[in-house]
Each structure stands twice: as C-alpha cells, then as structure tokens.
C-alpha cells in the first residue's frame, strides 16, 4: 500500500465535502514534526490562491475556498499546475474515508520527516549558516561569491543547498575560513555590505574584489585596504539624510514596522 494519498483533480462541487472533516488531516499533519520547506504560492483557476508547504516528498496543501479551510495532501511529483485533492467518496463511506486519510497523512508526514532528517546533516546546516553570514557581510552576487570562495557557480549552489552533503577539501575549508575572517573584519568596520566598495580603486591600483578573489588571500593586505577605504568613506561629505540623522531627526516608522497585532 502506498504511503501517499492518491491525488485527484479538484472540482468546486467538492467544497462541502472538504469542510466536513478537515481537522483530522490537520491533526495528522501537526502531530508529526515534519519540518516545513519554504512555501510556494500557486494559482488555481479562477485565481484562487493555494499555499503549498512541502515536507520531503509530500506536499501539504492549504486551500482557502470559503470561510472554512479544507486541507489535502498531494504527491510532490504531481504537476504543480494541477490541484491535488483527496479522492471523493460515497456519502455513507465518508467517515471511514476521512479516518483512512488521516492515517495515511500521518504516515506520509512521518516518512517525510524521516527523509528530511536524513538529508539535512549538521555539517551541511552549519556550512549554509556560515555562507549566509559571509554573504550578509559581503553582499556579493552568486558569481562574485563563488570567485571569492574559489568555487564554480554550480559548486557554490551545492554548498548553499543544506540537503547536499558536500565533503569539503582542506584547501576549500581553509579558503572558507579565511573569507569568513575577512567578512568579520569588514563587519567590525562597517555595517554596509562590502559590495559597495569592492570595486573602488585602492592606492596601489588594485581593488578589494581583486584581492579577495586572488589565489592567495592576503589578509594583512585586505585589512589595510579596509582601513584605507573606510577612511576614504569617512572623509566624504555627508549626504542630506546622514546630516538629518546626525541632527536628531528620525524616520517615521513605516506601517511594516508596527507589531502585527496593531
């Protein structure tokens, strides 16, 4: 027996049917600790939004049809343009059917959670976290970041994929550590991403990007370049918004910054 619910194309007349026992499926999904993948939004004709949460090989579909919220599960291999729903059943068999669905959902989510645990290793997660911290300080494009780390673009994509268990060679490991130190050294000097000054010419005619992407990372030269550029930035005349901020003017808080319950 398959661990997955067989998907069927949805038709609006099934709406009432869905609203009868959605809690059973929700419960099944919530009881398991399946870590959710990033959400994707699909459009169902006529433009009804679908929120898709994938867990392993199973996709959890939250479909806002009416005031009530029906749920369904679908196999990930199903084309994303199609709506996936639970197979309809005869009215007299519906109660049994929902229980079966709930059980199948529970199994599917447990399976997905196991798969997820297997694929995201601690080392991969740490690697992605380290890259994210570097990228926050540098703000480079994928191509530039790959050049700085001494990787090809496809290699960097693999490094950025927490599900990919990349085995790092010693040279790459050292390079990553060096770039991490450089990123931190920059962050200690400026909150702006390094990208903003990466291509500014230095006194010796080079640029930060050239120093960073060279075969041998000379950290002493980079730190000296950081000092040179930050001094140059400080010597520049201030912009109007900087002068206003220095004078004590503050930005009016935007609607987005309000707490969600207000």
């Amino acid at each position: 027996m398959s661990a997955f619910i067989r998907p069927r194309t949805y038709t609006p007349r099934d709406a009432t049917f869905y609203q009868q026992r959605p809690a059973a499926i929700i419960e099944a999904a919530e009881e398991t600790e399946a870590p959710a993948y990033p959400c994707a939004h699909l459009l169902l004709e006529p433009s009804t939004p679908l929120l898709i949460k994938a867990s392993g090989s199973v996709v959890f579909v939250k479909h806002c049809l009416t005031a009530a919220t029906p749920y369904a599960l679908r196999d990930k291999s199903w084309p994303t343009t199609a709506t996936a729903v639970i197979e309809s059943a005869r009215a007299d068999a519906r109660s049994v059917f929902w229980e079966q669905c709930a059980e199948q959902a529970r199994e599917a989510f447990e399976h997905a959670a196991t798969q997820q645990r297997r694929t995201t290793t601690a080392a991969a997660r740490l690697r992605v976290d380290r890259l994210a911290a570097i990228q926050a300080a540098l703000g480079f494009t994928t191509q530039d970041l790959a050049a700085v780390l001494g990787l090809s673009r496809p290699q960097l994509y693999r490094w950025l994929d927490a599900a990919d268990d990349v085995r790092m060679q010693d040279a790459k490991r050292q390079r990553l550590a060096a770039v991490e130190r450089v990123a931190k050294a920059w962050q200690d000097r400026s909150p702006a991403p390094l990208r903003s000054v990466a291509h500014e010419p230095l006194a010796n005619g080079s640029t930060l990007f050239a120093l960073l992407s060279s075969d041998a990372i000379d950290e002493a030269a980079l730190r000296a370049a950081f000092d040179e550029l930050t001094a140059k930035l400080q010597a520049q005349p201030k912009t109007l918004s900087q002068r206003l901020a220095d004078a004590g003017f503050k930005r009016r808080p935007s609607i987005r910054s309000l707490p969600s319950d207000e």
Partner: protein, 260 residues
C-alpha cells in the same frame, strides 16, 4: 592555493581543543565502529586501538577504545563506550572546528547508534609561554594571581573556579606558573596528536627550567537526551561562545596585546 592566514588572533596560545559527548554506557559500540570508521575514513584514515580502565563501583574493567586520526595527526576522533570526542591540535577558528565536529556528529547519526547523551563538553587548553622577561602571571588579570609572601618565589600556582551560565557550567583553571614540570593541566587525557609550535616552545622552556603557564577552559552542558546531531551542534555553538567569553575575561592587557 596558499593562504597567508593571520588567524583570528595574531599569536594564539591555543594548543589543544576537545569536543566530547559523554554517553550512557554503550557496550555494543564495537559493532558500530566499522560503519563509523568507513564514514570518517576520508578525514581520519588512521586507526589506533586502545583500552581504557573504567572503574565502576568496586570492580575495574577494561573497555575498548578506537582512535581515528587524520593523516597529519593533528585531529583525532576517540570512540569509547562512555564517550565520543574530537581532539585537535590545529585550529583555524571556531566555525571550522565546529564544522569538523558536525561531520563527526553526522557520521554518528548515520551510524544510528541511538546513544543516550548524558553531557556535552568543550575544552580549550592554552599555554602561556612568556616573552621578553615577563612571567606567566603577567598574562592573567590581577584577580587570578594569588599571593607571594615576602622573600618567596612562586614556583607553582593554581587557580580554579566554576561559572554557571544559562544551561552550562564553565570551569576555568589557570596555572601561572604551572607546577614544576607540568605541561598540560592535570586530569587531561590527550590523544597522541602532533604537537603545535606553542607546545614545543613550552616544552623547551620546561626543559630549561623556565616557567610556563596554562589556562584550561572547560564548558559542560547536561543534555539527557538521545543523540541528535543538529540539536547537539546548536549546543556546541552556544558553548563555544561561553568558553571564549570566559577565557577572554581571564586575560590581562599584556596577554591581549601580545596574542590578539
């Protein structure tokens, strides 16, 4: 590809780092070792077998130990029935060490040991090799220096304290100067790893009857759960910060100026 690495510190005094998981006795570990060895072979190709004497109650028993070493013998994993640990005498920075430890944790996870983790530990040993006529005590803050009676010369001084943080305890021990002839802290079981330059320098000073010192920073956290690699890595990331904070708080201005 060569890298002119400065490290995060200019002259780091660090000589030895251990990350250790104390597990509930796991007598069938021998059956899991082949799988672990295969998973770790690319980083730790050399294997040494040893025995440890475990005194549980009145009757001591010998339990097997496996030590998996890196080719340059600067990193080693020790697998025992009561503890699993990663030892290092080379250290780029904390994130790199943690990523190596994460690889070991993943190998344990994939081997499906299902071990019950009692405690997690992270220990750093730093050696004080004084330069230019300074004494080991000059590298510690004044509060840790102890006393020297009039007319006496201090030939060994030990200071220890335990600090409770949220969920962790950090034990800090400082020997400045270390008791005569003592290179590493007492009760410290090191793996036969390659000695780093600072340790060789300290040994040479000991041979010449010159004083050295050590700072031993040991962070412990009670876990009390079945092994889960991702969860443990989070604990270690937090413990590393506490260890670093505690160690730095013991350093004098001289130490900061010379090492950092």
């Amino acid at each position: 590809m060569t890298i002119t690495a400065l490290g995060t510190w200019r002259q780091p005094p660090l000589v030895y780092v251990v990350a250790e998981l104390v597990i509930s006795p796991y007598y069938s570990l021998a059956g899991k070792v082949p799988g672990l060895q295969d998973r770790l072979r690319s980083s730790f190709p050399r294997t040494l077998e040893a025995k440890e004497l475990v005194v549980d109650g009145a009757k001591p028993s010998a339990q097997p130990l496996w030590q998996l070493m890196s080719a340059d013998q600067r990193l080693g994993v020790q697998l025992g029935t009561r503890a699993i640990s990663l030892h290092a005498t080379s250290y780029l920075q904390s994130s790199d060490f943690l990523s190596r430890w994460a690889e070991v944790l993943d190998a344990i996870q994939q081997a499906e040991l299902g071990a019950f983790v009692e405690r997690a530990g992270l220990r750093y040993v730093d050696l004080i090799v004084p330069s230019g006529g300074k004494g080991p005590g000059d590298y510690l803050v004044d509060n840790l220096k102890g006393i020297v009676p009039d007319g006496a010369q201090c030939t060994g001084s030990m200071w220890a304290a335990a600090f409770q943080f949220d969920g962790s305890i950090v034990n800090l021990r400082a020997g400045a100067p270390s008791p005569q002839g003592m290179l590493l802290p007492p009760d410290f079981n090191a793996l036969p790893l390659a000695k780093p330059a600072v340790m060789l320098e300290a040994e040479a000073r000991l041979k010449a009857s010159q004083p050295i010192g050590f700072v031993d920073t040991d962070c412990l956290r009670e876990i009390g759960r079945v092994f889960e690699a991702n969860e443990l890595l989070d604990h270690y990331t937090a413990m590393q910060k506490l260890t670093s904070k505690t160690f730095k708080s013991a350093l004098s201005a001289t130490a900061r100026e010379e090492w950092m």
